[in-house]
């Protein structure tokens, strides 16, 4: 998975959540979209739903499941959570790189 394909995957997930009224309507997701933190497009439950959807998408057709461990993303400061789609896309791409 490349960074760009990860961003596209997340954009699809956000649109799906919006269609299900699980996320507020808004602009299409880009790498700069804030997922959690100041100016985020998701509330806390929406973020949990989003993370579960991303995990599900990453694990589709994989024998060995992967899990998003937010503290592994060095840019993600758990003391003051703020995460953009681009940072998460980098992490997803790294996660699915065979030698990562």
């Amino acid at each position: 998975m490349t960074r760009d394909s990860a961003v596209m995957m997340m954009a699809d997930i956000i649109e799906g959540l919006r269609r299900s009224d699980m996320a507020a309507a808004g602009d299409p997701l880009t790498e700069h979209t804030v997922l959690i933190g100041a100016g985020a497009i998701l509330d806390s439950i929406g973020f949990v739903t989003f993370v579960a959807e991303v995990e599900d998408a990453l694990n589709r057709d994989r024998a060995e499941p992967v899990e998003l461990i937010l503290t592994e993303i060095w840019e993600f400061n758990s003391e003051n959570p703020s995460l953009t789609a681009g940072i998460l896309a980098d992490y997803c791409a790294r996660l699915l790189t065979p030698d990562s």
Binding site: D43, I45, V48, A52, E53, E55, P65, E67
Partner: protein, 234 residues
């Protein structure tokens, strides 16, 4: 109509096994797990060998259940460690670590994975199992009761977190149930414990399941963050 799906940890014996039987009798699909094999072989029952303190194993188990049935309606965190203990002053730290691993870490792992499924489906019931050792402040139970108090607090926090998603989280704190683990503690201990309770008798697994069934009922959507202490006036 599709039968509801109930997931229960610690299902090979004791209260967990009783929960599996009780809900199978009421038309549920039940998916249980434990560290050891289960002798339970009934239609609509599926068992997995899972140590709940192993987060990866729990994740795989919960994901497999969610994929197979496309939902999880009720999750009961029944896996727990019960063993005789000494006064805190002479309790080895290893005993505390065992209680924390199974009771706290195990419940945490199951709750986390189940939460993700239930938040996505915007409904669900999570029920954790505590102990009267918490409100009774039983001597010799510092490690055990401490771990169960952590389970209770974790459940109440989770109840607040998941309320917006339509998921309820509640706690059943059974009075003494004469499981194999309770028998192993000896009759003197059982008699002493029953005398600490407000209602001086043991309870059956079915009575515990009745409380769980109340929390699990669709009509209980407005009940969350609550503890039922059986046989006890707090």
């Amino acid at each position: 109509m599709t039968p509801p799906v109930l997931l229960v940890s610690g299902a090979s014996r004791g209260i967990g096994l009783g929960i599996a039987h009780y809900f199978l009798d009421r038309g549920f699909i039940v998916c249980g797990c434990s560290r050891s094999e289960s002798a339970l072989a009934r239609p609509d029952y599926d068992h997995a060998l899972v140590d709940v303190s192993d987060e990866k194993a729990v994740r795989l188990w919960v994901q497999s259940v969610a994929r197979r049935f496309a939902r999880i309606d009720v999750a009961v965190c029944s896996a727990g460690l019960v063993k005789s203990a000494l006064l805190l002053a002479v309790t080895p730290t290893a005993i505390l670590d065992e209680f924390l691993a199974t009771n706290v870490r195990g419940t945490f792992n199951v709750c986390r994975e189940v939460s993700k499924v239930m938040v996505r489906q915007r409904s669900g019931r999570i029920i954790t199992v505590s102990s009267l050792a918490v409100p009774l402040h039983l001597k010799g139970a510092a490690a055990y009761a401490g771990s169960k108090a952590a389970v209770e607090e974790m459940t109440r926090v989770l109840a607040r977190e998941l309320a917006p998603a339509g998921v309820t989280c509640n706690i059943v704190s059974p009075a003494l149930v004469m499981t194999d683990a309770a028998h192993a503690m000896g009759p003197e201990w059982a008699d002493w414990l029953v005398q600490q309770q407000t209602i001086h008798r043991t309870v059956t697994v079915e009575e515990v399941c009745n409380v769980i069934a109340f929390f699990a009922a669709p009509e209980s959507a407005a009940v969350t963050g609550q503890t039922v202490n059986m046989c006890h006036v707090g």
